[in-house]
Each structure stands twice: as C-alpha cells, then as structure tokens.
C-alpha cells in the first residue's frame, strides 16, 4: 500500500482540528433570527452568558481553557464563504426562495464574530459575549458545540485505538437500532436533527444525519444545521427561539407592554417573513396565558413548537385552543423538541399522529447518545446540559419563565415581577431533561 505522506503528516501535525468549520455550522433559525434582528434591532446591545446546568460536572477540569481559546479564536477567523452565501440566496427554505434579502447577505459577507470573555470560577467555565445583538447572537451555537466537542476530545484522549473503535461501534449499533425502530410498522414519524448545540462532535453529527437521511428517506425531514443542509442537500429546519420574545420583553417599559411583547414579536415576525415560517414558541412566559390571551389572528399561524411543558398536555392544550378558536387541528403543525428519544417520539406519534401534523426535532439523544458506550464504563461521555442564553438587553436583565419552574432564567426579583405580570397558570415543576 502506498502511504499518503501528505495526509499522514497533516493528521499528526495539524495546527488545529476545528470543532466549527464554517459559519453555516449553526442552527438555521439563528440565521433567520439574525436577519430579523438586523432588520428591526440593528443597534440593540445584548449580553449572552454560557452556563453548565449539570453542576456535578466540573467543566473546567474537562475542557482546557487554552484549547478552548484557540477554538474560539479560530471561529473568529471564519467568514461566510461565497458558495455558502449563494446557497442562502438561491436555495428554497420552507418552500420559499429569496428568504434572505440581498442587503442582509451583503452585510453577512462582511460578518465575523466579535471578541469573547473567557474565565473560570468554581471549577466551571465562564464565557460571555457582549455587544450589538447582530454581532453577538451567532456565538451561542458555536460556543456550545465547541465546548461539547472539546469535552468529547478530552474523554477520547484517554482511550486506546481499539477502545475508540469499540466506542463508535457501540454508538453506531445504538443509532441503527433507533433507525430500525423508527422504520418498524411504518410509523414514519417525521423526525429532524436538532442536535447541533449538544453534539458529540461535528463528524459524528454528520454521520448521524447522513445515516438518517439515507435510511429513513422521506421520514427524515431535515436538519437544523445549515452547513449540513448545504453540504448534503437536506432541508434546513427551524424558525425562531426564546431569545426574540425575551429581548422584546426586556425592552418593554411598562407591565402592559411586557405582557404584549410576546404578541408584538409574532406580529413583527409575520411582517418580516410572511406566511411560511409561522411556528409559535408559546412557552417563554407560560403556554397557558399565551394561548388564552392571544390575538385572534394567532390562531391562523401554522402551528407551535412544544419545548418545556409535558408534551401530551401541551399538545392537547393547543388542540383544544385551536378548536375553541374555530380552526381545524388537522391542518396545524405541532413540533416537539424537548428531550426526545425514540421511545418518546413513538409514544407521541401514537398519541397525536393523524390528529395534527406532528413533527419531531430530535436533539441531544440523536447526536450525543453515548450512554453505556464507553469501553471502560466511565461517565466522560454522558451528555451534559450546556446552554448559552440571552442574559441582558440594553442593560436590563433578560427573563424566561417557561412552562417549568426549574427552567426559569433571570434574576429572582425580575422572575417574580414577570410572574406577577404573566401569572403561573399551567406551569409545572418537572425535572429538566437534557
């Protein structure tokens, strides 16, 4: 066999093995939200804060700060490539071409990530991003996937070559059994990859996504990862996230304006994107109050994403609301996206399939399920709950209540003020899943 000398030397000596290879390697909805922010909040200043919710894992001992700095610095050198911008301009998203405007793409061409603040405290990493919202917002996903992948590499560095091979053999066998179960009985639950931020690594996510695309056919509806969608001709999936209502709430000057902020966002979103991306995320300040007090036109939206409430309860609540508002639930989309794995997907499919247009955004347990795969049974590769959340907007704290008391974020007094405005109807106290 002729050795590829160049490849071998490169493999052993590379200066950096990037965890993030492209600015497109982010959740597609971040790009939609970025255009929205650039259009309506171009000068707004915000801060994002990184947090490890799995406090038992002392992250600073598993992720080397110097290596993290090199990866973050490398991400700052990235620019959108010409082919990527052409794809954003020319591709069809949610059935619509030209969703990204030429002036926004021209701005994106000049885009690069701003500086970050990295430190350590109590065995945890502290990582903050501050500045114009348009500059800062994309950091969220890159930071999360970089930290996750460095944690993975730290664990892998302790394994022998055979142990590494077995680790991936087990994870692939696990993935295949999930694919087989999804195919069984022809349930064809429409699943999409939502696992970029919590992925084991970029290459593993790419393996998982291409395996699903090849083996599930039309039942695999796409990926939230814009780079993988670009590279493998898949549908890019996702519309918006909590940061939008959180920012608009923080900017509200009165309690009345605060209560209305969640609907003002919907209005502004519809104005920006028209009829193709109308998926509501009603749980930011509690789903029950959101639906109860929503304007009449909200019932015309395509559907909702369920994220922090018991999914059966949330789905039933939405169906009842749709019917009460005189619309047909059979035309409405419910996208489940909280802590899914194959059992849960099949359970929800059995419950909701046929009654609504159900869909499943599968995250951590799709792209980072190495539970019980470690060849020496160490916990190094168990997924942990990392987030990078909007923390402040123009100097005011950002607050999320969610449908789960334990998922509320923000300073205690602000959370209390928000609860007084929004109430706590339908909010539960359930363990936070990955």
């Amino acid at each position: 066999m002729i050795i590829n000398l160049a490849q071998r030397a490169h493999n052993r000596n590379w200066e950096l093995d990037p965890a993030v290879r492209s600015l497109l390697d982010t959740d597609f909805y971040k790009l939609l939200m970025l255009q929205f922010i650039w259009r309506h909040f171009r000068e707004t200043k915000v801060g994002f804060a990184f947090l490890n919710r799995t406090r038992a894992v002392r992250l600073a001992g598993e992720v080397d700060a110097t290596e993290l700095r090199r990866q973050l610095d490398y991400a700052r050198t990235l620019r959108f490539r010409r082919s990527e911008l052409i794809w954003l301009a020319g591709n069809t998203f949610y059935g619509q071409r030209g969703i990204f405007a030429p002036d926004f793409l021209a701005w994106l061409e000049e885009f690069s990530l701003p500086p970050y603040e990295l430190g350590e405290a109590d065995g945890q990493l502290t990582l903050r991003f501050s500045g114009r919202w348009t500059d800062v917002t994309l950091w969220e996903i890159y930071a999360l996937s970089i930290v996750n992948e460095l944690r993975t590499r730290h664990a892998l560095a302790r394994l022998s070559e055979f142990e590494l091979d077995i680790l991936y053999a087990r994870a692939k066998a696990r993935l295949w059994s999930k694919i087989e179960r999804l195919r069984e009985g022809g349930a064809c639950a429409p699943v999409a990859d939502f696992g970029t931020r919590r992925r084991h690594s970029f290459l593993w996510q790419e393996y998982v996504v291409t395996a699903m695309a090849t083996e599930l056919g039309a039942c695999f509806t796409g990926t939230s990862n814009a780079f993988l969608a670009f590279k493998h001709d898949l549908e890019a999936i996702g519309t918006n996230a909590h940061e939008l209502p959180m920012a608009m709430a923080a900017l509200a000057d009165t309690d009345a304006a605060l209560k209305q902020a969640q609907y003002r966002l919907l209005d502004l979103w519809r104005e920006t994107y028209g009829g193709n991306l109308l998926i509501m995320l009603p749980d930011t300040y509690g789903t029950t109050q959101f639906l109860r007090d929503a304007p009449e036109w909200a019932a015309d939206w395509t559907g909702i994403r369920v994220d922090s409430k018991d999914p059966v309860m949330a789905g039933e609540e939405y169906i009842a609301w749709v019917e009460f508002r005189g619309r047909d639930p059979g035309t409405k989309r419910i996208l489940f996206s909280d802590g899914l794995d194959v059992d849960e997907i099949l359970r929800l499919r059995a419950h909701f399939g046929g009654r609504v247009l159900d869909a499943y955004g599968w995250g951590t347990l799709l792209t980072n399920d190495f539970r019980d795969c470690h060849p020496r049974n160490l916990p190094d590769l168990e997924p942990i709950s990392l987030v990078c959340k909007l923390a402040e907007v123009e100097g005011r704290p950002a607050v999320k209540l969610s449908d789960n008391y334990l998922k509320a974020t923000g300073p205690a007094e602000e959370v209390a003020r928000y609860r007084a405005v929004f109430g706590t109807a339908g909010v539960a106290n359930i363990p936070v899943r990955v």
Copy 2:
C-alpha cells in the same frame, strides 16, 4: 483534504483482492505436519475433498466459480517470502528454536500449490486436490478460507455503505462484549485464535486477533495463523490434526496394524519433534479405546486436544486416565477446540481451571460471529460448516470415526470395518456444532 489518487484508483480498479495473501496464512500445525510428512511420507499420494456440511446452504449460488478460480489460481502463484522463511528458521516455537530443519526450509522455498479440480453438483461446489501429500496438504486451509471469504463478499455486495458500517459496528460491539466477559472476575482463561479456516475474512480475523492480543494481554496465548503470528509477534499455536492418524490408518495392511497406527503416529511424532509438541488428538477412532489401549509412555505426553466429545466428559476421562497411570493431572494440558464460544469457555474454565492446565482454541465463533449482525436480518453471514478432509491415501479411502457418530467420515463399509477394529466405546450421538 488531499486525495490519495493512487490509493483511490487502486481500490476501485484492482485486478484481484486476494483472500489469501501469503502461504504463511494457514494454520501453523499444517507446517509442522508438512515437515513431518516430508520427512516420513515424501512420496505418499493422497486426495483431499472439500465438503459443505451445511447442506441447506446452496454454496454454488453464493460463491461464483469464476471468482473462486481466480482466487485459487492466485494462491498458486504465491511463494514463501524470504522474510517468512527466515522467521520459520529463527523464531522460537513452543520454546524451541530451529524446529524447522534447513533441508525442509530449502524445499519449502521452492514450494507452490499444485492444480485443483473444481466443479459443481447439486448446487454445491466440488473441489478436490490430488497428488503427493506434501504438495496437496496445504490446500486445505487456503481453500476453506478462500471459499468462506468469497461467501462473505457475496453477502456484503448486497449491502449499502451504511449497512456495511453498521454490520461491522455490531460485530465489533459483540467482540468487545466477549472480551469484557473474558476479563470479568479475572478468570483469565487462556484463549487462542483457531479461526483461520472459518473466518469471515482475513482482515476481520486480523482485527479480532490484534484486539484480543491488545486487550487480553497474557490471557490471549496466540493464534493458529502463522502469518498473523509472524506479522504481529504473537505465539503460533497448534501441533497436529486428524489427517496424520487417518493416513497412517489407511496405509495399514492388517486389522492389527490398523489398531496400532494411532500409536505408531505418536511414536513417529515424538521422534520428529522431541518433547515440545506432545499434544495427543485421541478422538480420531474414539477417545475411550485410544486411552484404554495406549502404551505406557503415552501418559508422559504433555496433554490432549478435545475435539469431538462432550468436553466435560472428555476432560474427566483424560484426568481419570492420567491418575490411573500414576501421573499428576495438574501438570497436564487439556486444549478444548470444539465449537467454543465465551459461555462454553467460561463454563469449562470453571469446571477444569486449577485441576489441569486448561486452554481454549477458539474458532468459528471468534472469527466469524456475525449472527444477528446483518442490518436487514438476512442469513447470508451465518457461519456454515465447511471442511476439506483427507479422502484417500494411495487409493485407499481415509476414515475418521471420532467421538461422535455424526462426525464419522469415509465410505460406509470402511467405517463399519474400522468400527469393528476400534469398537464404539464412549462414542456419542450429538449434533455437530460449527
């Protein structure tokens, strides 16, 4: 990434992907037996016949005769390489250097495989090798591993790239669970690879053997495959097989000489190799009669290989015999080699460990255990029972009785004559395992 253009072109266009890459790629005991035959039976003419004992599998439909011919023809072009001959001359086998004599090695340098006769009948392949025993005997293992690997490739050709990846992921996960079970509780059963003839493929055997060597340490005692022992600095394991007593029995002119042939072989073997390779294979014509009527000096041999009898019965029978002859069983080796898998190894280890020097020659279910690994649950990769046996010697049929009626080979009338001479004490009727 820079593509290795040469490798890529070679991968896609190679003339032949050999199943057997070296004349050393055979069971080490074939080389010991070859030197023995060359020393004592240089002009003896024999015939070997290939047989698929798994009749339900129509082998001619799974192994293309043209491709088989190309592989067999390729094997005929092989010569022992200089480095391989130097290894045979200079390496230590069973604690002894210089086990292969210079005149034999000089002969081996000129060795090449003789012609073969290939045909088809009733959906099965017919394959015969006839000529001088010294020329023909090595064909056995090459023929078996070639046919097995071509059957594997036929099955693999029907799988997609992902399915192939999953197949091997599952097989690796299976192998690892076996390794883990062998390590549990520190049992350290001394296992060796005996799986060349029934292997899934050469590369898989190499993977399995190097994984075992790396992960089991001293509890992995070596491999029967001389090429893998050479390539990976492992112990080459094995002494002799049924073809020797079968040939000497066939050459016997009287019933008395027939009965004594099994002991004449022992005498001649000891004369040839001295004290280092004295493992008896007592089951050729029934273990019970062999031990009962053995000459006194047979009790001085190092041990036995158990192949066709219930292993607990065979081991106990041998231990009782050793004690009856006034020797210490704790100094004796029992090598189990029939249809082993990890459960059976651990069971026999629990039964015999500490009482004798137990050892385990692990074959088919080490190098070809793809049961339930097929991603579409097809049976293509279930191992089948292929053999290539000595069929005749100087025009006389070769006969084996074994400890199992179902494993007897030879024409019915000859089997009957042998049974009259040897008796059937202790012979059982148990299903033939892989």
